[in-house]
Amino acid sequence: MSITVNRKPLSFWERLYMPAIIGGLKVTTKHAWGTLFQGKKVTMEYPEQKWTVPAGYRGAPYLVRDQDGDTKCVSCQLCEFVCPPKAIRITPPGDSGLKPDRPNAEKMPLEFEINMLRCIYCGLCQEVCPEEAIFLQEHYSLTGLGRKEMIYNKEKLLELGGTAPGIQKWKHKLAEAREQENFPVKV
């Protein structure tokens, strides 16, 4: 069923297009005036001014250190496995490789690379990480002059990531292990 919309015939004044012209003049003048003299522009001048992201924003993934300044990553390679675009590449230390820089952790990665051109900011690495060592942080516009530059290595990721204080799982394990060693004496 068709609906007939009754449209009022235009008055003589309206048929001269005068109300439309005056209205247009008013609106455009108001906006131009506001933008020029009252600073009412709605855009930001991007590279100089940046949008401040809300807390919990999921930008680029970076590695974090704990409150003692130790690397949290233990090179378990779960994030490498789960990463949908295969942006993460971890080189484990191997048998005679680098010793972890903190007590009682088994491993730490020899190299940890994230290709930021591949990363899709899905957050699966953060979700899967058993050590809470990788977090999606507030950086949202990564730029570089070449593809090589966009592959972030471990030092860069750690530097950008900063520290994330939390439960120091391995520190407590150390305390527990020491206590166990002392066990016979104590009793």
Binding site: A20, I21, G24, L25, V27, T28, H31, A32, G34, T35, L36, K40, K41, V42, T43, E45
Partner: protein, 353 residues
Amino acid sequence: MDWNFIIFSVVKIAFVFGALLTIVAYAVLVERKVSAWIQDRMGPNRVAPPFMKYVPVLGSFLTRIGFFQPLADGLKFLFKEDFTPAGVKKVYFWLAPAISIIPALLTVAVIPFGSKLGHQKMVIADLNVGILYTFGIVSMGVYGIVLAGYAANSKYPFFGGIRSSAQMISYEISMGMSVIPVLLIVGGLNLSLIIGWQASHGWLVIYAPISFIIFMVSSFAETNRTPFDLPEAETELVGGYHTEYSSMKFALFFMAEYSNMVASSAMMVTLFFGGWTLPFWGLNQPAATLAMGLAQIVVFLAKMLFFMVLFIWVRWMFPRFRYDQLMDLGWRRFLPLALANILITAAWLWLRS
């Protein structure tokens, strides 16, 4: 034919041509800036040659107002790939941009942009049929657009060409009709004569306001500007007649549109707003000194730039007319109005004489 005439003509042509192209380039910048302000943005404010950051205040000011943007735009147009789509009619495809820009540049030849510098009249060709020449040249502009639409061998440009031919022909008529009262009042076709008449009697917009309104609206239609930009209607026809054009060929169409705007503004100023004259400070008489001559050129440019800004402003103010509304306005409103205007003016002049 003396050498003096040739040399001064060449100098004037070079000057007018350079000024015209500069105004065209900066009109694009003004268009972008004005549109930005109206849409609550800032517009282009980044482009600058590298050494500009060492110039203290002026450098950053010029960068902020986008002073160097036209240079960047021009370079971009030059360096872009000049792509010729398969299936276009090559000859017409190459011819169309040229046919569209040449009339646009030729129109300014008869417009007096100042009174005198020394003994030289500040007009390239002081034709006795100035207005007729302008109309003749302007109506050739439509061929460029129609050819572009035809040559592209593609649907949307074709629509654009068809629309343009209908639109420009119908508005050409009311435009021509609207000027007749001016000619009746002044009694001559020479644009310098018209300006001279206005210097002694007052601006013609007071004597023929309806003529001015019809002329202005028709020149919006002639230059394919909103609200009559049907030939290129981006939202309907992709890009209209220049959809298939790229690089410098597209730039020629673009420049043609803006040169047409300059020419129309100059015509409006000359016909209705006294050209280079101002009713005070003695600017009404042909200049006796060099300084006065320059001042009159500045007056003319200022008046013309006012209308350029009006053209640009209107583009960001109004929606596009529908095709039938456009035709309706042209044939059923403006043409009878222009005819009535001629009759009334003629009767008025007859009664007074």
